[in-house]
């Protein structure tokens, strides 16, 4: 009996000790399965190896699967879970999670690393809720060989002018991609579509991701923004039914109906777009910056990698615009170790940590002088920082608590218009009515 009691007490002591250690550590719920996870593992290891970090403040990582990540996170946070001290957050969902999180003071040096505009991607109601770890925006990918051939051939230029006159109502001349307007891009997409120009060396001029999915609206909406579109004006009125939104919606429909994009584009998202462009049968693609590594890698995209050009999204009547949103890390309101969590986030916002995160595969948006320090290893981050600084935007209201449902609503209504199930007027009227309900103060 005495032996049994000793064993039981020893086991209890062991369990209590290990539980205590687990409680004391800072648990970070990160974005799983990609470069973000690799980079987070590297910085967590570096942080834990520092001599000044107490055992109780060492970082442990926790990952869900990506599928339904935000649904699971929302359910956990709403239930008051304390299973993690730090959790992932994104610009478009920050308003949704802010009430379950603690604002964090990143210190004065954070602005010198990321810049104020990037720090704002992690702010809600004027408060900082997280460290911006990764930034996403869009690149216009194009086939250099095809565009060069077009620019060098007078007969092709004449055909290009003829096509643009017929479909866009004005005879355009081919231009270099870095000076494209959206009309130039559309004319190029039509020129390289077999359905429009049977002589085209590829099947499609572009690949539009038009699946009923909020992320696809983020890709498309730069067309509207470049023409002056926004969700709401300074007084809080919904301004979705504007000439800018009409122009942008009509442009996509025109290209899809003309066959400039694959027939199944209404079911395309990120992966399908990469597969289409990587097949060598598509001339241009507006796609997330994350695709650059895949599309320019000869092992992953042998048909196009050597000929992929990258420029910022084309310009509209109001200039050039590139949707940005950040992923970041912030503190759970029910965290067991808030001081430890704050210490880790403050360290993560330092230049050394940001550079380590970048070297380990992450995509932080860094100020030019900071990005210059890793320009040789990560030239894409220099481009990322340049585009984010020069063209980056967040729609007014797109960090509110209901930003997510607004994107969902737009995705449903706009894909309804593109697929011919409802008129443009109905789609915009329904979207406006829904947004007024969702974004009312």
């Amino acid at each position: 009996m005495l032996k049994f009691t000793k064993i039981t007490l020893s086991a209890l002591a062991l369990i209590t000790t290990s539980l205590g250690a687990a409680n004391a550590a800072v648990t970070v719920l990160g974005w799983p399965g990609g470069s973000e996870e690799t980079a987070l593992r590297a910085v967590a290891e570096a942080y834990n190896a520092q001599s000044g970090v107490a055992d109780a403040d060492k970082v442990e990582l926790l990952f869900y699967s990506r599928d339904g990540f935000y649904d699971k996170l929302q359910a956990d946070m709403a239930a008051g879970s304390s299973a993690f001290d730090i959790n992932l957050l994104a610009t478009y969902s920050i308003g949704r999670y802010a009430s379950y999180m603690e604002p964090v003071d990143l210190g004065p040096d954070a602005a010198k690393v990321f810049g104020e505009s990037v720090l704002k991607t992690m702010q809600f109601d004027g408060k900082q809720y997280g460290v911006p770890t990764d930034l996403s925006l869009h690149f216009m990918y194009y086939r250099k060989d095809l565009v060069d051939a077009l620019l060098a051939d007078p007969a092709a230029k004449a055909k290009y002018a003829e096509i643009s006159e017929k479909y866009l109502g004005k005879a355009l001349e081919p231009k270099a991609p870095d000076s494209w307007t959206w009309d130039d891009w559309a004319a190029t997409a039509l020129y390289f579509a077999k359905s429009v120009n049977p002589e085209s060396p590829v099947r499609y001029g572009t690949v539009l991701q038009m699946k009923n999915l909020l992320f696809n609206i983020m890709v498309w909406q730069s067309v509207a923004r470049a023409n002056g579109g926004d969700w709401m004006d300074a007084s809080g009125n919904i301004t979705i039914d504007s000439p800018a939104y009409r122009t942008a919606l009509e442009l996509y429909k025109k290209l899809y109906d003309a066959g400039a994009s694959p027939k199944d584009s209404l079911s395309y998202e990120y992966a399908e777009t990469n597969a289409a462009f990587g097949s060598g049968q598509v001339a241009t693609a507006l796609q997330w910056n994350a695709a650059a590594s895949e599309l320019t890698d000869p092992a992953k995209s042998p048909a196009v990698a050597e000929n992929v050009g990258i420029v910022a999204p084309p310009a509209g009547s109001a200039g050039r615009a590139d949707h940005i949103h950040g992923l970041g890390l912030g503190i759970n309101k029910n965290a067991k170790n808030k001081p430890g969590a704050a210490k880790f986030l403050q360290w993560l916002a330092t230049e050394d940590a940001a550079l380590l995160y970048a070297r380990s595969g992450g995509s932080p948006a860094l100020l030019p002088d900071v990005a210059a320090k890793i320009a040789k290893e990560r030239p894409d981050l220099v481009t990322l920082g340049q585009y984010a600084g020069a063209y980056g935007y967040v729609m007014t209201g797109a960090t509110s608590a209901n930003a997510f449902p607004v994107y969902e609503l737009q995705a449903k209504e706009f894909t309804g218009y593109w697929s011919g199930q409802e008129t443009l007027d109905d789609a915009l009227a329904n979207t406006k009515a829904g947004m007024e309900k969702l974004l009312k103060p």
Binding site: K211, K412, G416, S419, Q421
Partner: protein, 291 residues
């Protein structure tokens, strides 16, 4: 046989009743409260009772009725196709399977794949640039249709669902078909019945309970379809492939409209209950008339 009195039954049944009350009764009660409340993820613990507004919102939402129609149509069409194909295969393949029973194993393989995986698989299979189906269509005919646009997505999904679940119907029908005593067939053959007459007048009537049971199982599964549709087309362009479970899921998680989502699920529950009760009543009435 132990003869239990009333008190004995109560004692033995109480754990089960307690379990049901805790794990079914309590959530249903909370659901009913939420369905009458204005509630989102921010006020889960303090819902504001607003009466039947959520029910009115659901019933007045055109998308709810479109989703109901999608689910009903999808459930009926896939159940009919699966039963017809499953029955045909069961009768046609019966002599072969009887001799080589291992054939049943590969025929059942589609059932082993998770529906969500089936959706992902067909995203690849039907993709114009990496999928084998469009590849061969281009190779042989110079073109490939759009499988997943608003016009064709419904029928593509019907085919995907039917291909996966026909083996289920085949399994049940084959079992029922083999359970018919051979001497019944032999006797009718001696009486001069043709193969078609044996099938329609002897075998199918004897298999009727299995046919009805399988049809309803497949209808219920088709009606509540979620996984493969969601991974293949999402809710479709303009919400064109929104089934009722997808409607409820999107209202709950994507729109954060918890009261509305639960009101829709309560309506679905009541409609299912009324439907099943009516079917049971009709079935009993049919039996009464026959006797």
């Amino acid at each position: 046989m132990v003869d239990l009195d009333h008190k004995g039954w109560r004692i033995f049944a109480s754990p089960l009743v307690g379990f049901l009350l805790l794990f079914l009764g309590l959530p249903i009660l909370i659901d009913l409260v939420y369905s009458l409340s204005r509630v989102s993820f921010t006020n889960l613990r303090s819902p504001e009772i607003v009466g039947f507004g959520n029910y009115g919102e659901v019933l007045g939402d055109g998308q709810f009725w479109r989703a109901s129609w999608f689910s009903l149509r999808f459930g009926v069409i896939t159940a009919i196709l699966e039963c017809v194909l499953g029955l045909g295969l069961a009768v046609f393949l019966s002599p072969l399977i009887e001799k080589r029973s291992w054939l049943m194993a590969p025929l059942m393989l589609p059932l082993m794949v998770a529906p969500a995986m089936i959706g992902l698989m067909y995203r690849l299979v039907l993709h114009e640039f990496v999928g084998p189906v469009p590849y061969y269509l281009y190779l042989w005919f110079g073109d490939s249709p759009s499988f997943l646009n608003a016009e064709n997505a419904f029928w593509t999904l019907v085919v995907v669902e039917t291909l996966q679940w026909t083996p289920f119907a085949l399994l049940l029908f084959y079992t029922a078909y083999r359970a018919i005593p051979d001497d019944v067939r032999e006797a009718s053959a001696i009486d001069g019945a043709s193969a078609r007459q044996i099938l329609t007048a002897i075998e199918l009537p004897l298999m009727r309970p299995t046919l009805i049971f399988t049809f309803f199982i497949r209808f219920i599964d088709g009606f509540r379809v979620f996984d493969n549709v969601y991974t293949l087309t999402g809710s479709g362009p303009g919400g064109s492939t929104t089934s009722l479970p997808i409607y409820i899921y999107e209202a709950f998680f994507k729109q954060g409209a918890i009261g509305k989502a639960i009101a829709a699920s309560v309506i679905l529950f009541l409609a299912s209950f009324v439907g099943l009760y009516a079917l049971t009543w009709l079935s009993r009435r049919g039996k009464g008339a026959a006797s």
